[in-house]
Amino acid sequence: MNKFDFFHKLGVKYPLIQGGMAWISDSSLASAVSEAGGIGMLAAGSAPVEYVQQEIRKAKQLTAKPFGVNIMLLSEHVEAIARLVCAEGIKIVTTGAGSPGKYLKMWKEHGITVIPVVPSVALARRMEKEGADAVIAEGGEAGGHIGELTTMALLPQIVDAVDIPVIAAGGIGDGRGIAAAFMLGASGVQMGTRFLVAKECTVHQNYKERIIKARDIDSVVTGRSTGHPVRVLRNKLTRRFEELERAGASIEELEALGTGALRKAAKDGDVANGSVMAGQIAGLVKEEQSCSEIIEQVFSEAAERLNALSIDLIVKDNPADERD
């Protein structure tokens, strides 16, 4: 199978999926990414089915190109949303936070291309066995809820373990990252953080400015102690979380601190007390651009990098060689 067959069949120009970001990836962002040649994704997050339906219908008005829905499997509305994507004729579904096993049959019957996000080799193999069309191997460099392994280590291990296409996610923010993902065996990439600052992204302006100002070391993970690690940019909220953690607060107390925190940052613009979820690559994101500018730029950079490769990896003219 040609490397790009998978994306070719989906009818897109670039092998790119936009990461599903709860409270952020709405019809405005998703349709702009699809129009620009990638696969835009609406994030269902924990939103009720009516909201997701409204966003699907808005996106259909905004683009005739394919877009998908990212379904968070821990949502209390997951059953209804799983049926909604069938009823609305959605063609691409990505899933997060577990195994979509029980919905796979129904989605396949509706001709949906199913791409679960996986953080381990075993889950990738299980998803392949259950009928997933591809998997997104997401390393812990990604923003939001994350697994333990890095993209650099996870991606080639999953590529070796399954025969379906593997899409790389986590830590990819420019053409160099895309080129690296292809070197590790990926068939495509998913980017989230870079699109946070897209002009068409409706996240609060304070959130965008916080991403643009972020340094590498601002990226931290909270909640390792609760078993639900989340990558965010550090602020008052993360310091409060760490204080509570050190003081031996209960899991319930710690989780309560996170409740509603993403909405507070993404919608209300409270980037001090809200949860500013972003990937480690935030430090690399420097300006607000349109989705089309972002996508054209990163793929021309990636192609340039990959096409320039003709390295034999031997250091030339080293005096040490002459002694041979």
């Binding site: 195994s99 096993g101 029980k102 075993a122 889950l123 299980r126």
Partner: protein
């Protein structure tokens, strides 16, 4: 399948002595087994004993005893 077979498989995956695992041991609270470990263990069981264990059936299994009972029921 006996409890001792299953406890040995679990023990190998999480790096404890099989003797430390009891039928009443809870995956999450007592053995610190998370959802990713569960998939590893289940796939191992499927391969070794030629079984199909649907993902949705895993949700109700809280203890090692639950898993043993479940495996016995699908084997028949």
């Amino acid at each position: 399948m006996s409890f001792s077979n299953i406890s040995q498989i679990i023990a190998r995956h999480i790096g404890v002595e099989a003797g430390e695992i009891k039928p009443t041991s809870r995956f999450k609270e007592d053995l610190q087994i998370d959802s990713l470990d569960i998939f590893e263990i289940v796939m191992d069981l499927e391969e070794q004993y030629d079984l199909e264990i649907p993902t949705e059936d895993l949700e109700d299994l809280r203890t090692v005893g639950d898993l043993v009972k479940y495996i016995d029921s699908v084997k028949d």
